[in-house]
């Protein structure tokens, strides 16, 4: 009997403990969860990350400071920042966004891919290409003290260094003592003369997607040009896209998948080059089986 009473009491206590645990969890997870007030960009909602990238690219279009743009993109913690930029640019084109808004993203993706800014940062308002205040997710006050020592020593010779006394991870306080005169603004070079079709090559490679229409646009120095709009029209539709959204294949590269037995017309918007009557060529593989091959159109400015 006493054993039964003991078991009963223990069961009650266990149930009471579990009830309390459940109440505590419910309160801490649902009624009053931990409130985030110091979030980092990596946990932003996807649409806000998109906007963050747009702002990074717009800033880069002004400063041409590639290391800083790269550091800012790293804050978003994307596994493939360049791919994300390209994908977002393509999504924006698909949604009908203006070239003015899309081109900075494509330009930044292209410059990150090639590893240098298309336009020198010294020609803009902002002259410090490698010293900047972009916060770093991983950086703490102690790490700052350790890693910034050489820079700090140089700067302390000129001006007193601010005390790192705030609770949150601070920006790297950097004093630039030399006054740099504001240079004149140099715009991004725009394409010059009209693009002329200089090559039209059938591509019969079974490994490539069938009926792939590829474009390469180059300037007069045979340097590939990103951000050029191409319009492909056919009897029942039209598609518009830009070069440079696949920087891994070339800054002036773009492609389009054709349908077999459909005739297409191609127009390069800037410069007005027009190529009519394009269709997928017929190819034959080593076994004698026919398939739709690809086509490479190469345009160049004079």
């Amino acid at each position: 009997m006493s054993r039964l009473t003991f078991h009963n009491t223990t069961l009650h206590l266990l149930l009471a403990l579990l009830t309390g645990l459940g109440l505590g969890l419910a309160y801490s997870w649902f009624i009053s969860p931990v409130t985030y007030v110091d979030a980092n960009p990596a946990i932003l909602r996807a649409d806000f990350k998109d906007q963050y990238r747009v702002v990074i690219a717009a800033s880069y279009a002004s400063t041409h400071n590639l290391p800083r743009a790269r550091a800012r993109l790293e804050l978003l913690n994307d596994t493939d920042p360049i791919g994300e930029l390209s994908a977002q640019a393509q999504r924006m084109v698909g949604l009908g966004e203006s070239l003015e808004r899309v081109q900075p993203l494509a330009q930044l993706a292209t410059d990150l891919q090639q590893g240098f800014a298309s336009v020198s940062p010294t020609a803009t308002h902002f002259t410090n290409t490698n010293i900047f205040n972009t916060p770093n997710i991983e950086t703490t006050v102690d790490e700052l003290s350790a890693t910034q020592t050489p820079t700090n020593q140089l700067m302390e010779e000129a001006t007193p260094f601010p005390t790192l006394s705030f609770e949150q991870t601070p920006l790297v306080p950097i004093q630039v003592t030399t006054s740099t005169p504001r240079p004149t603004f140099t715009p991004i070079p725009r394409p010059g003369g009209p693009f002329i079709l200089v090559g039209q090559d059938s591509i019969c490679e079974p490994g490539l997607p069938s009926s792939l229409l590829q474009f390469i646009l180059m300037d007069g120095r045979r340097k590939q040009v990103p951000g050029i709009e191409i319009i492909v029209t056919w009897s029942q539709g039209e598609d518009r896209f830009f070069t440079g959204f696949k920087p891994e294949l070339g800054n002036g590269y773009a492609d389009f998948v054709m349908q077999a037995d459909i005739i297409y017309n191609v127009r390069v918007v800037e410069g007005g080059a027009f190529v009519p009557n394009i269709s997928a060529p017929s190819c034959t593989d080593p076994n004698g089986v026919k398939y739709s091959g690809g086509l490479l159109l190469t345009f160049q400015q004079p």
């Binding site: 002004s62 601010p162 950097i174």
Partner: protein, 119 residues
């Protein structure tokens, strides 16, 4: 049930609640993954405003700048920019960066916040 048992049960519930709170707030708190920019840490917010200011130096489009700043919260763009400028001054931003923020502030002060009608 005796009163001593009731006390024991009350103590067990209290211990359970305490354990639950510790687990829910400290050990495994709710992880936020889709947050809006208005809860970004201050230095990230300021860097965002600085990016908007840098972009404004290039496109001179106050509407676009105000639209970008609006994602940082319901405060007027000028207030957001003022806070960023104060932070920049406190934390030794470069002259160019402060100048960019000042230019943005000037432009944002000219923007009429939405919802406020002119007399």
């Amino acid at each position: 049930m005796t009163s001593s048992n009731l006390i024991k049960i009350a103590i067990a519930i209290s211990i359970g609640i305490a354990l639950g709170l510790i687990y829910g707030w400290v050990i495994d708190p709710i992880e936020y993954t889709d947050v809006p920019p208005n809860i970004l840490r201050e230095d990230y917010r300021v860097d965002y405003v600085l990016m908007v200011a840098e972009a404004f130096q290039n496109d001179h489009n106050p509407e676009t700048a105000a639209r970008h700043l609006a994602s940082l919260g319901s405060e007027p763009p000028a207030t957001i920019t003022t806070s960023a400028l104060e932070y920049a001054n406190r934390n030794g931003f470069t002259q160019n960066e402060i100048l960019a923020l000042q230019n943005l502030l000037t432009a944002m002060q000219m923007i009429q916040p939405p919802g406020i009608n002119n007399p």
